[in-house]
Symmetry: C2
Subunit: 199 residues, 2 copies
């Protein structure tokens, strides 16, 4: 015995979401059918609109339905000559929220991962190379995640930037503010020592 | 700074799902946009179809887009005079999978919960009362969850059925098969003793 075709189809369709298995999918479908029809309709319309209209920003590759995203299109950033490389649009949001950086971004939409078949071209590094060659960029800030893949990606891009004789920097690794030294892992602590700055 | 309008709308819309907060919603949106456009489109269509077309079965109240669900419409069950009351369509699926019951069902779509404003009419108990009065039912099996609310709901329905002088039974509580006595809670163990059957 199975649920009726439309209900079953909905449950199967939910399983495309990350972290959603058969049980969660079923719970989501029942919750929407029983209590949130309006919300479900809205989600359906939002999905349809986003999946068909959202594409990558021409300059920075973040998600946007316009040709340029709001940051790349902003006149205030027009003269910025710093370019910050991040892995995902969420990282852009986090850096913008910190309020300290006012340059432009380049979003890789992932990291180098040869085993998964993700090479330089999948991350748009050909577009990045053109942009570095154009001479609009004076400093490249590598803000990929401090993971093995993120570090490898940063290293690859650093090599690329050196060909264009650009200033390249990597964001600092060290003890996070508010953390306690006792609970910080050894690698981070070692990096916080090797990256110490004179007071 | 926010994401572009369509992306932001999609992230907000995902938050309608149970157990999905801002971070999960963002992850789901990015995953679909980056890697699963086809799956996202399919989910959008499935949502649209289910939200507009799925309604309750006329007889048992489970979800279906037909007037009667597959069980109520089955000729094999036409003469069944047992009616099993459960809380959700998923319970019907679980009981069907056990292969032991061949009667009909009545799905409450929840349980009595006065604090949340869920009363007898919200569970379709008026429909159930009519069905019991029709004389088509010879035995009512109460298979609501063994929780406080489930027990209260079962008790309420038992009283209702007694007005029609029907045989009413409650599924057995006891030690689950494959479990170890040592790890079974006290209430369940007590119930397994009071409900013991002669060998």
């Amino acid at each position: 015995m199975k649920f009726s075709p439309l209900v079953d189809e909905l449950i199967q369709a939910f399983k495309v979401l990350p972290g959603v298995g058969p049980k969660s999918a079923q719970r989501m479908a029942f919750q929407l059918l029983e209590r949130q029809r309006a919300g479900g309709m809205k989600l359906g319309r939002a999905l349809d609109a986003a999946m068909t209209q959202v594409d990558h920003c021409r300059d920075c590759r973040t998600f946007t339905e316009e040709e340029l995203c709001s940051i790349c299109a902003s006149p205030r950033r027009g003269e910025a000559r710093q370019l910050c490389v991040v892995e995902s649009p969420a990282d852009v949001l986090a850096i913008e929220a910190s309020g300290h950086y006012s340059g432009k971004y380049f979003v890789l939409m992932g990291h180098l991962s040869p085993l998964d078949g993700i090479g330089p071209d999948d991350l748009g590094l050909d577009i990045l190379a053109k942009r570095l060659a154009s001479g609009d960029v004076s400093e490249l800030i590598l803000a990929t995640n401090p993971t093995v893949e993120g570090e490898a990606t940063a290293h690859y891009i650093a090599e690329l930037a050196k060909q264009h004789e650009l200033k390249v920097s990597r964001i600092a690794h060290g003890v996070p503010v508010g953390g306690e030294l006792e609970y910080v892992d050894g690698t981070t602590l070692a990096l916080s020592f090797s990256g110490r700055q004179q007071v």
